[in-house]
Symmetry: C2
Subunit: 266 residues, 2 copies
């Protein structure tokens, strides 16, 4: 079964993202959401809180300890397009759930993702792709991601280094992000490509390029906005840094065996 | 000429707001925008900066020193609906330009407006109405106002008092607003009335009730989002507090003479 046809793939490469509405049903999303309640009840190294409150901001590496998320990464709906986009076998370099909780979920400043994987993890090329799966309905009100269409074509942009990011890997996932895209570059890219917001019903999946410039506003609404983000890397693009100090496994996945699709009994 | 018919008035009373798209043309808006550049070049008591930067957040009382804004308050397109809504002669209780500048414009937390006029200015009843005029195109990306339709019917809600608002009137116009609506009330009101965002082309005017619960996210986009907000009060509803300490004229207008429509030469 084709989960991304050639036209859809071309659209992804042109814009730097592609939206597949309602890819998963309520039951599948429900299984994942149930897990989140368990995660919230325990402290784990990959759990991150918001800058200005004790609210959880994100859970990292959920597939490393949760069966439901370990199944998710092997779902053909996600794995087949990842292989098609990267034209290779793939593994999970990073997986997280960004919670953007009602009233308290903070911003993500303008940034690209690949620079973190390049500079922190030594991923050699941008042959790496993310897909977010909506765990809630996402509207203009609860902090959707804003994309700048076509901005991935700029490649990896020289970053503005945050002056108030927390030290270490925590800065890489904070509202004061370590590597940001400066305002004049954002202005130029938006004048060329405009803005797009990633909205849709829960179960929607959105693919986006590692060099796509994006940001998201805080969630001031009473409706939570949870997304799972799976980052697939080409097996041939795995970091070569086996002997250097690396970010934790939940940010820089150690298991680089090619993933095989689950056989779904439908 | 009727600038608000009975059906439109009924819609305003039902929802607590009413949008009149493209009421003013580019030339009229251009005159106002030109003034803003002058305002920015001078320090005035009613000029307010953002909490975390030196960026201007708002200019208050512009009609007190600017001919273009003094004309605006008398425009029949604005004055006639104000009289119709309030069923009385009116004067300007407050006028401001909220700038919500590109990248730096901060949030307005959930709040109602009338409580400021009641508790700070002793305006006896909520027979007072605001109209905002868009000085820029407003989209989902540059910090539109979020309204909770029907929330004005709750009347003046017991506020949550901000613990980090600046002292004095500055707190009333800060991103750490003095009087806010608490999260559980917002949640309940949104579950009943949903959310509406005030978007449109520059020149659009949006009327809203003094008790309508509203908020707006920060502007993380490269596109500024400037609005003029005119608050008309019924002459019969003027504060009775002539002898007490009052907020400055640019927040609590002293000139309570009934306004007369300009005769437009069209």
């Amino acid at each position: 079964m084709a989960y991304m046809n050639d036209e859809e793939l071309a659209s992804f490469h042109k814009d730097g993202f592609w939206v597949n509405h309602n890819l998963f049903g309520s039951e599948e999303i429900g299984d994942l959401v149930l897990c989140l309640e368990e995660f919230a009840a325990s402290e784990k190294p990959g759990h991150v809180r918001e800058r200005n409150s004790s609210t959880y901001r994100a859970f990292h590496g959920c597939h490393l300890y949760s069966e439901a998320f370990n199944i998710l990464i092997r779902r053909p709906e996600l794995l087949i397009p990842a292989k098609k986009i990267l034209n290779d076998d793939v593994y999970i370099h990073q997986l997280k759930v960004n919670l953007k909780q009602a009233f308290s979920g903070e911003i993500w400043p303008w940034h690209q993702d690949y620079i973190y994987w390049r500079d922190e993890d030594k991923v050699p090329t941008s042959q790496i792709v993310s897909v977010m799966v909506f765990l809630d309905d996402i509207s203009e009100f609860n902090g959707p991601l804003f994309f700048i269409p076509g901005s991935h074509k700029s490649g990896c942009i020289e970053p503005k280094i945050s002056t108030d990011a927390p030290a270490g890997w925590e800065g890489n996932v904070s509202a004061s992000l370590t590597y940001q895209v400066d305002e004049s570059t954002v202005t130029k890219l938006v004048s060329e490509g405009g803005l797009f917001s990633a909205k849709g019903k829960k179960g929607t999946a959105v693919w986006f390029d590692g060099n796509l410039v994006h940001a998201s506003p805080p969630n001031i609404s009473p409706v939570q906005r949870r997304i799972a983000i799976l980052t697939y890397n080409a097996v041939s693009n795995a970091p070569l840094d086996k002997n250097i100090k690396r970010r934790p496994d939940f940010l820089n996945g150690r298991n680089r065996e090619p993933l095989q699709e689950l056989e779904l009994s439908i």
